[in-house]
C-alpha cells in the first residue's frame, strides 16, 4: 500500500516547486500547455514556409484581431467549463449585448462610457440569470444555457427590429477595437491580452478562482466543506457573462455596427478553443493561458488555410479535426500518466 504512495508521489515531487502564492499547476497541465504551445509554433512555422504572405506584420496583426472576439468569449467561458459546466449562450448573448450597446448609443443617445459599460453589465446579467437557473432552479447547465442561447437570439432580433444598428456615427466607438494605442496592434488585441491576464490572476490567485476549481473537482465535497457553492457559481456565470458583454462591445466596435443576425456558432468556436487549450469538460482542470493558445491555434489555422487558398468549408472541417486530435492527445497523455493500476 505504501509502495504505490511513494512511487506515485515521487513522480509528482519531481516537478519543480514554485514559490509564489496560490498553488502550482500540476505537471500534467503544464505538459498540455507545452503541447498546445508547440502545436501553435509548428503551425506558424508551417504556414510561414508554405506561403510568403503568412508571416507578415499585417497578416499577423489580422490574425490577432480575428482572435480577439472568440478569445474574449473563450477566456470567460473557461471559468464555467472548469466548474464542470458549459455555457452555450455566449455566442448569441454576445450579439444581444452588442445590440443593447447599439441601442444605448444611438436610440437613447447615451454617452460612450454608458453604452460600453451597459453592454458589459447586460452580459453579466445574462450570466447571472444562467447561474440562477443552474444553481437555484437546479437545471443542468447545458439546458439552462441552451434556452438562454435561443432567448438571446430572439431578443437581439426583436430589440433591433431585425436590422443592423449602425454605429459609425458614434465618435470614438470604433477606436475601442480598431484604434492602435500600440502601433500596428489593434486595441481589441490589447483588450484580449489584458483580460486574459486579469482572468488568469483571478483564476490562480484568488478565492473565486479556487472555488472555480473546487466546484469542478468535486461540487458535493466543496459544499460539505461548508462553502456556499451556489453563490460562487453565480459569480462564475456572471463573470463569464460580463466577458460575453465585453465581446459584444468589441464585436460591434470592430464592425461599426451591431449585427443581430450574427453570433450563432461563436459559442462552439469558443468552447473548441477552451478544449484545445487543455481544459477538461469534466471540470476541475484548465487554464487561461491554455485557452488563449487554443484560440490562437484556431485563428492561425483558419488564416493559414485561407492564405493557401483552401476553401472555407474545408477550413471548418480542419478545425473539427484539430479539436479531435487535441482531446485525443490529451487523453493519451493522461492514460500514460496514470498507468494501469487496479481500479
Amino acid at each position: 500500500m505504501t509502495d504505490t504512495t511513494t512511487t506515485d508521489a515521487a513522480a509528482t515531487s519531481t516537478a519543480p516547486t514554485a514559490a509564489g502564492p496560490g498553488w502550482r499547476q500540476s505537471l500534467g497541465q503544464r505538459l498540455q500547455q507545452a503541447l498546445a504551445f508547440g502545436t501553435l509554433i509548428a503551425l506558424v512555422a508551417f504556414f510561414s514556409v508554405a506561403s510568403p504572405n503568412f508571416f507578415t506584420i499585417s497578416n499577423l496583426s489580422s490574425i490577432l484581431l480575428a482572435t480577439a472576439v472568440i478569445g474574449i468569449l473563450a477566456v470567460g467561458t473557461t471559468f464555467v467549463i472548469i466548474t464542470g459546466g458549459i455555457d452555450l449562450s455566449i455566442g448569441t448573448g454576445m450579439t444581444l449585448c452588442s445590440v443593447v450597446t447599439g441601442l444605448l448609443l444611438t436610440n437613447m443617445g447615451m454617452p460612450l462610457v454608458v453604452g460600453v459599460l451597459g453592454g458589459i453589465a447586460f452580459g453579466a446579467l445574462l450570466g447571472f440569470v444562467n447561474g440562477f437557473n443552474v444553481t437555484v432552479l437546479g437545471l443542468p447547465p447545458f439546458i439552462a444555457t441552451l434556452a438562454m442561447m435561443m432567448m438571446a437570439q430572439g431578443l437581439a432580433l426583436v430589440l433591433s427590429g431585425v436590422r443592423p444598428i449602425y454605429l459609425s456615427g458614434v465618435p470614438g466607438f470604433q477606436q475601442i477595437a480598431l484604434g492602435q494605442l500600440v502601433p500596428r496592434i489593434p486595441n481589441a488585441v490589447l483588450i484580449l491580452f489584458g483580460l486574459a491576464l486579469l482572468l488568469g490572476i483571478i483564476l490562480t490567485k484568488t478565492v473565486l478562482g479556487r472555488m472555480t476549481y473546487a466546484i469542478g473537482s468535486n461540487a458535493e465535497a466543496t459544499r460539505l466543506s461548508g462553502i456556499n457553492t451556489r453563490r460562487w457559481l453565480l459569480g462564475v456565470y456572471a463573470l463569464a457573462g460580463a466577458c460575453t458583454g465585453l465581446a459584444g462591445v468589441v464585436m460591434a466596435s470592430r464592425l461599426s455596427s451591431a449585427q443581430p443576425q450574427l453570433g450563432m456558432g461563436y459559442e462552439l468556436q469558443a468552447i473548441a478553443a477552451v478544449i484545445i487549450g487543455g481544459t477538461s469538460l469534466m471540470g476541475g482542470r484548465g487554464s487561461i493561458l491554455g485557452t488563449l493558445i487554443g484560440a490562437l491555434i484556431m485563428s492561425v489555422l483558419i488564416n493559414g488555410l485561407r492564405i493557401m487558398a483552401v476553401q472555407s468549408e474545408w477550413q471548418t472541417v480542419v478545425t473539427g479535426i484539430v479539436v479531435l486530435v487535441a482531446v485525443f492527445a490529451d487523453n493519451l497523455r493522461k492514460r500514460r500518466a496514470e498507468g494501469g493500476g487496479p481500479v
Binding site: 508521489a9 509564489g20 502564492p21 500540476s26 484568488t206 473537482s217 468535486n218 465535497a221 460539505l224
Partner: protein
C-alpha cells in the same frame, strides 16, 4: 475424491502492490468455508480472480479436478462459480423476476414472455423458501430482501455449485440473518460449496465448517472452526495477540460539561422520526446502528445537507436554523463524510488545496487574493502534527493512502477550528495501524474540548471510542447508553429493535 475447488499458489500483483502471494484454498462439496482477513488482506482480489474480473499472474485453479482458466464473468458462471458482491448489482426499477433472469429472459422471437418469466421466478423463490413475490420492484425491497434476490439469481443458474458471499450480513438485521443462514444450510445440504467472507466471529461459529485466513496478501492457514478460538483467529488475522481490547475505552467523563449541540425531535421526509440527543464539550458520542438506520441521515440533516421537516437544533444554548453546510460551519459544526473520495476530497487537487478548503476565509488577503505562503505553512504544520505521509503539500491527494487521505480531511476541519466534529465512518478502508492512530487523534481532540460524534458500522469501534452511545434503528433513536461495562450484545439488541411490524423478510 477430488475437491470441488482448489486454488494453488495463486499470486497477483498490481503496479506497486503485491495483492496476493502464493495463496492456497480448498473447498469441498457441501461445505461452508469462512474466509477472513483485514481490509487489504487480499480477499476481494481473490474473489475477483475467481469471478474472472482479474487474471492471476501465477498459480493454478481447479474445479472438480479440472484445471481452468477464468477469462471473464461469463466463464466463471459456466464453471459454476457465482458471486454475491457486497455492493449489489441489481436494477432497482425492474422486478425481482426481471432482475434474476436479466439477459436470459424466456423469449418468443423478439418478445419477452413475462408470464413464463414470472412463473419460473416464483418457482425458484418458493423452492428456496424465499418469501418474495416475483413481481415486486427490487427498489422497494429491504437490503436483506435484495440479498435474497441476489442469492436466488446466483442459484437460478443450473450450473452453480460454488457460491461466494462477500459480507452478506453487513447490512441486515439479526432476524434476517437467521433467514439467510437457514438458506445457506439448505444449500449446503444440496452439495453447494460456499465461501463465506465475514468479519463477524459469532456468525462464523454459527455457519462455517472451516476458516481460512489471509493477511497482507498471504495465505496464513486453515482451521476447523470447532478447533480454534476467536482469539486465535484474530491473532492469525492481525499477526499478533491483541491485548485486552476493553482497556482502550475512554475513561468515564468528568462531571457533565456544557451541552454544545442539542437536537430535539429531528425528522425528515423519508426516514428520521423524532431524533433527539445532546452532545457535550469534550465528549465523544458514538452513533451505532445497522445500515439504513438513519445515522448518516441524522448528521446530514443536522448540518443542513438534507432538509429536515421537523425539529430544532441548538448550538451553545441558542436555537439556530441551519439551512446548509455553510451555515453549519458558521455555527462551528463540521461534518466528515462517510465516503471520503466522493464527498470529502478533491482527489485531483493537492494537499494544500484540500486542507485549506474549509478555512479558506482565513487565507484570504486583500481583494480576495489567496495567501499562498500562509496556506503552505499551515498545511506543513498539519502534515507534521498529524503525521500525514506525503512527499509535500503539493502532492495530489489521489496518491495518498486511505489513512493519510482521512488525515487530510481531519486537518481540513481542524484548520477551520470547529467546536463540533461529526465523523462518519472515520476508519472505513483504513488499515489497522492507521486506525489506531485515528482513534488516538479523536481521543486527543475530545480531550482538548472538542465535541465529537462518531458514526460507525463497526461496533467494536464505537465501543472503543465513545463516552456515550446513541443507538438507532429504522430512523429512530432506540437508546442512549453510557459506555461503561457495555457489551456488543446490548447495543445490537437496540440496533435491531423492530419498530414497524413485519419489515423483515
Amino acid at each position: 475424491m477430488t475437491r470441488l475447488l482448489e486454488i494453488r499458489d495463486v499470486s497477483k500483483g498490481f503496479p506497486g502492490v503485491q495483492a496476493l502471494q502464493g495463496v492456497t484454498l480448498e473447498l469441498s462439496r457441501g461445505e461452508v468455508l469462512a474466509l477472513v482477513g483485514e481490509n487489504g488482506a487480499g480477499k476481494s482480489t481473490l474473489m475477483k480472480i475467481l469471478s474472472g474480473i482479474y487474471t492471476r499472474d501465477s498459480g493454478t485453479i481447479t474445479v472438480d479436478g479440472q484445471e481452468v482458466e477464468i477469462a471473464g464473468p461469463r466463464e466463471a458462471q459456466q464453471l459454476g462459480i457465482s458471486i454475491i458482491h457486497q455492493e449489489m448489482n441489481l436494477l432497482p426499477h425492474l422486478t425481482v423476476g426481471q432482475n434474476i433472469f436479466i439477459g436470459r429472459e424466456p423469449r418468443l422471437g423478439p418478445f419477452v414472455q413475462e408470464r413464463a418469466l414470472r412463473r419460473r421466478t416464483q418457482a425458484l423463490l418458493d423452492e428456496l423458501g424465499i418469501g418474495l413475490s416475483a413481481t415486486a420492484m427490487v427498489g422497494d425491497l429491504t437490503v436483506a430482501q435484495q440479498q435474497m434476490v441476489e442469492i436466488a439469481k446466483a442459484l437460478s443458474f443450473e450450473s452453480t455449485k460454488i457460491l461466494i458471499m462477500d459480507e452478506p450480513t453487513s447490512a441486515i438485521s439479526l432476524s434476517e440473518t437467521k433467514v439467510l443462514f437457514r438458506l445457506i444450510r439448505s444449500l449446503r445440504e444440496r452439495g453447494v460449496g460456499i465461501v463465506y467472507i465475514s468479519h463477524r466471529m459469532e456468525e462464523l461459529r454459527q455457519i462455517a465448517d472451516r476458516v481460512s485466513v489471509l493477511r497482507d496478501g498471504q495465505y496464513i492457514g486453515t482451521r476447523d472452526i470447532s478447533d480454534v478460538t476467536d482469539a486465535e483467529i484474530i491473532a492469525m488475522m492481525v499477526g499478533r495477540e491483541l491485548s485486552q481490547r476493553h482497556d482502550d475505552r475512554p475513561r468515564p467523563r468528568r462531571a457533565a460539561e456544557d451541552v454544545v449541540l442539542s437536537v430535539r425531535g429531528l425528522s425528515t421526509r423519508t426516514l428520521l422520526r423524532e431524533v433527539s440527543f445532546d452532545l457535550h464539550r469534550g465528549e465523544i458520542l458514538g452513533f451505532a446502528g445497522l445500515m439504513g438506520a438513519g445515522r448518516t441521515e441524522t448528521a446530514r440533516a443536522v448540518i443542513g445537507a438534507d432538509p429536515m421537516t421537523d425539529g430544532t437544533v441548538t448550538v451553545h444554548g441558542k436555537q439556530v436554523r441551519i439551512t446548509g453546510p455553510d451555515v453549519a460551519v458558521r455555527h462551528g459544526i463540521g461534518y466528515l463524510p462517510e465516503d471520503r473520495k466522493r464527498h470529502g476530497l478533491m482527489l485531483e487537487q493537492d494537499v494544500v488545496f484540500n486542507l485549506t478548503m474549509s478555512a479558506l476565509r482565513s487565507f484570504r488577503g486583500p481583494a480576495g487574493f489567496l495567501r499562498g505562503r500562509k496556506a503552505s505553512e499551515v498545511t506543513d504544520s498539519y502534515i507534521e502534527s498529524l503525521r500525514i505521509k506525503t512527499p509535500s503539500g503539493r502532492a495530489r491527494v489521489k496518491n495518498l493512502s486511505g489513512g493519510n487521505q482521512q488525515k487530510v480531511v481531519i486537518a481540513k476541519w481542524l484548520a477551520r477550528d470547529c467546536d463540533v466534529l461529526i465523523f462518519d465512518e472515520p476508519t472505513r478502508g483504513i488499515d489497522v495501524g492507521a486506525k489506531e492512530e485515528i482513534y488516538r487523534l479523536l481521543a486527543d481532540l475530545a480531550e482538548q474540548g472538542k465535541a465529537i460524534i462518531v458514526i460507525s458500522s463497526e461496533l467494536p469501534e464505537v465501543l472503543r471510542l465513545s463516552h456515550r452511545i446513541v443507538v438507532m434503528s429504522q430512523g429512530r433513536v432506540t437508546g442512549v447508553l453510557d459506555n461503561e461495562g457495555l457489551d456488543q450484545e446490548a447495543v445490537m439488541e437496540l440496533a435491531t429493535k423492530n419498530i414497524d411490524e413485519g419489515a423483515a423478510a
